[in-house]
């Protein structure tokens, strides 16, 4: 593994950590006060900092450091994480994400913004912490493992630690400052094979150190447990390495001791006044490991050995702390042995990766490889179907062994396909999390107070869909906050909570993923929309439009109701772009809006863009595929059940209820006249908007899984058709867009894409 690969992994992990950070902060924002949540947040920042240090990403390290310091105040209950604090923290998380991206892709960050935030963070950290609490620092040990190899024997020096760009940051590191350290080991520290002596030795190397051993807790000899911790130390250390270096000495012991590091208020002599301290001689070489007691000469490897030692200690303590992560700890302990010489950082990455992925082991695979596999499996499915077909055609009295073999093959390909698709399935969580940032930023810009509520974040959907979802969703969220929600004053005047709510929901419904974006704003101002459409020559001034049609006007290209064009939305490329991206994904979007109560945008997307279970039917000599998920039941209509309704409409009575009967062939213009229902088969389908329709087709050929081939990519969009597929006999069959057909039935015939109705 070369450095770049390791770095790439680091950035991937950063993404995970950032997501963790954000979700933790949001939980805190919602009033969660679980210390574990705070710890998780702290851990995320800490890990990013550790990794960034190993790669010398100074900006990232220094920002993360300040952020971490403030989080530490929250962790030790010195700072109450109220809304205002969390606001700063959430913005800091955003900046941290920006810095991470900038470090990866180059580019600039808004330095003024990060500097401002550093100031705010420090104000938080300082403002409410006159006396640092003696609360033990308690980051989970696994996260601690990650930055380990960055620390060499002398502490943590390779961690780049530059505050040059941040004049308001820590006290200047060039000037040595005196820190007062209270170190109170717990018995666990010794039980895990660590020794306070070693920590103190490392500490003494950072600078000029005076120490006082507090023996007050030491009992009489016969009452003592020789392996328990009684000593504690008060240390005064004059160092130019900064507090971070001090803390990093205790990196692996953090869990097992109480540690309190403070910058001494005055000079060192002040500290000495209250208690007599023993100066520690500078030359401690005799105490080094590898001194006479150890025979082997390990000079060259000393660093690595001691790193391994440290790492192993950390790993052991991890195991002791949480038995369920035992395996990870072992891995972490093993990793450096294998990797330490080549590249200590890779061990960190391995450990970090373990930490990030929690209990289940995972691997990272290039998406391209998965895509290739999926493509090949798709071909395999088609090929298998062709094979079955030709066997059936050519060998009418086919031997049972061939048929059985074919059946097994079919099952196998099916299973392979399912498994491959599962590889690509991902929860929508990352996209949703990104949205909370968008909401925050827009809310800041517009001066509105907005709360984003997300539901169903763990709903899984194909990776391709997720990737393409972010952009339209961003647009919609912007619109919802900018146009949808009112200003706090207006909301109060309307008797609403001044804080607006935007609700983002994902759920599976009838084999598709439905994403709903609801705001509790003013709703669509139909008068305004209508006027605007008339002004823009989109509709005739006297056009008679239903509410739904007016609402759908906003999906027209070049339509924007914002009076003045803002940075946020209103560039006039909003909703039509959204609609087109959703359509490109094989999805649909529609609006429900209630004046004064807000609007709901509902997007329905296919779970995957690759395969589909379908019923193969014949309509006017054409072979069509109807997505199986849409079909509720199939039935053979009887003449007595068919009723005419109006001039052309027909209804079918099914179990004492009436359901519109739609001739697919007529709607798709396959034939000029309606077919006789009695000669065909009715497919009862559930439509997106709710309600059932009976689709009339001529015959059912069978049911099979088909590989979706995009019609748009290979041909062009055809109204009423979602995509195409290749059948077993090599022919192309069209996949029916059931909802489009249902929607079209209302407006008689399918209209081209720019229809006013919400067909998609």
């Amino acid at each position: 593994m070369d450095m770049n690969e390791i770095k790439e992994i680091f950035f991937q992990e950063c993404e995970e950590q950032l997501a963790e950070l954000e979700s933790g902060l949001l939980k805190l924002n919602d009033g969660d006060r679980d210390p574990e949540t705070v710890n998780a947040v702290f851990r995320a920042v800490h890990s990013i900092k550790g990794g960034a240090g190993a790669f010398g990403l100074d900006d990232l390290v220094s920002f993360a450091h300040v952020f971490e310091t403030t989080l530490d105040c929250v962790r030790s209950n010195r700072l109450e994480p109220n809304q205002d604090v969390l606001k700063v923290m959430l913005r800091s998380a955003d900046v941290l994400a920006d810095l991470t991206n900038a470090a990866r892709d180059g580019g600039n960050v808004d330095e003024a913004r990060s500097r401002q935030l550093i100031k705010e963070l420090e104000a938080l950290a300082n403002g409410e912490m006159p006396q640092p609490a003696p609360e033990p620092a308690k980051a989970a040990p696994i996260a601690q493992v990650a930055p380990a190899p960055a620390a060499n024997d002398d502490g943590f020096q390779p961690v780049a630690f530059s505050f040059e760009d941040f004049e308001a940051a820590e006290p200047p590191t060039i000037e040595p400052s005196t820190y007062e350290i209270v170190f109170r080991p717990k018995s666990e520290l010794y039980a895990k094979g660590n020794d306070a002596t070693l920590l103190l030795r490392d500490l003494s190397r950072l600078g000029e150190m005076s120490i006082r051993c507090d023996m007050d807790r030491l009992p009489a000899l016969d009452e003592m447990n020789p392996e328990a911790a009684y000593f504690s130390w008060k240390i005064s250390l004059k160092t130019d390495k900064g507090e971070e270096a001090i803390r990093s000495v205790f990196e692996f012991a953090e869990w097992d001791c109480e540690l309190d590091v403070t910058l001494a208020s005055g000079d060192a002599s002040d500290a000495g006044q209250e208690l007599p301290m023993q100066p520690v001689p500078f030359d401690l070489s005799l105490l080094d490991e590898g001194a006479p007691a150890q025979a082997e000469a390990i000079e060259d490897d000393e660093q690595i050995v001691s790193q391994q030692h440290d790492l192993r200690d950390a790993a052991v303590s991890t195991a002791a702390n949480a038995s369920n992560v035992l395996k990870m700890a072992q891995t972490a302990a093993r990793a450096p042995v294998e990797n330490a010489k080549a590249s200590p950082a890779s061990a960190a990455q391995a450990a970090g990766q373990q930490a990030a992925s929690a209990a289940t082991p995972t691997i990272r695979v290039d998406l391209d490889r998965v895509d290739r596999l999926i493509n090949l499996v798709g071909e395999l499915v088609i090929n298998q179907a062709m094979l079955s077909q030709s066997v059936i055609e050519n060998d009418t009295n086919g031997t049972s062994s061939i048929n059985m073999g074919l059946e097994e093959l079919q099952q196998l390909t099916r299973e392979i396909q399912d498994s491959v698709m599962a590889i690509r399935a991902q929860p929508v969580k990352p996209v949703f999390q990104r949205m909370s940032r968008i909401v925050r930023e827009i809310a800041d810009m517009t001066g509105k107070s907005v709360r984003l509520v997300t539901e169903g974040e763990n709903t899984e959907v194909d990776k391709t869909v997720i990737d393409k979802l972010a952009e339209p969703l961003t647009h919609m969220i912007r619109n919802a906050v900018d146009h949808g929600l009112e200003t706090p004053e207006k909301r109060v005047a309307a008797g609403k909570n001044p804080e607006g709510t935007v609700r983002l929901t994902a759920k599976h419904r009838s084999g598709r993923i439905v994403i709903e974006l609801a705001d509790d704003g003013a709703g669509i101002n139909r008068e305004k929309v209508r006027q605007k459409a008339i002004d823009n020559d989109l509709i005739a001034a006297d056009a008679n439009l239903s509410d739904e049609e007016i609402d759908n006007l906003i999906f027209h290209a070049g339509f924007s109701t914002a009076d003045k064009i803002s940075d946020i939305s209103g560039r006039g490329v909003g909703m039509d772009v959204v609609k087109r991206s959703i359509q490109a994904l094989g999805g649909r979007i529609n609006i429900q809006s209630k004046p004064g109560q807000g609007s709901v945008f509902t997007m329905s997307l296919p779970l995957t863009l690759a395969v589909l279970d379908g019923m193969v039917v014949t309509v006017a000599n054409q072979t069509l595929v109807v997505p199986l998920t849409a079909i509720v039941e199939t039935l053979q209509p009887e003449a007595s059940a068919i009723h005419s309704f109006g001039a052309t409409q027909r209804l079918i009575s099914i179990r004492n209820s009436f359901c519109p009967l739609l001739d697919v062939g007529r709607i798709l213009n396959f034939r000029a006249t309606q077919a006789n229902p009695v000669e065909g088969v009715a497919l009862l389908v559930e439509s997106e908007g709710g309600g059932q329709r009976a689709l009339m087709v001529d015959a059912i050929q069978g049911q099979r899984q088909v590989v979706i081939k995009s019609l748009e990519a290979n041909y062009t969009h055809v109204p009423g058709i979602a995509a195409a597929t290749i059948l077993g006999d090599g022919r192309v069959a069209l996949i029916l867009d059931v909802d489009a057909i249902v929607a079209a039935s209302r407006g008689q015939a399918l209209k081209p894409e720019m229809t006013l109705a919400a067909t998609g």
Partner: protein
């Protein structure tokens, strides 16, 4: 109860006073309890905090018993280690040496 006994019992410390040695050292000291003790730390190469604790608890106990608890001989490493961890052994150093 505290009868003075001038015959100091010697205790030679192991070279490595680490975690494993703490319990052993504790037992050795307990066995020697009730009599003046002269500790030979001349071979000591490494001192862990646990053993330092045991030694200091010993010193404290011996002091309560008004018995002498001294370090007869010390190695450089022993002195440095005690300095490092802020344990002042100077008052316990044998004056006779």
């Amino acid at each position: 109860m505290a009868s003075r006994n001038n015959a100091r019992k010697p205790l030679k410390l192991a070279p490595v006073l680490d975690l494993n040695e703490a319990t052993a050292l504790h037992n050795k000291l307990l066995e020697l309890k009730g009599a003046p003790i002269a500790i030979d730390a001349s071979a000591v190469e490494r001192v862990g905090a646990l053993c330092a604790q045991v030694l200091m608890a010993g010193a404290k106990t011996w002091e309560e018993d008004q018995l002498s608890f001294t370090f007869a001989k010390v190695s450089d490493a022993f002195v440095k280690a005690t300095q490092l961890i802020g344990v002042d052994i100077a008052p316990l150093m044998a004056k006779e040496i």
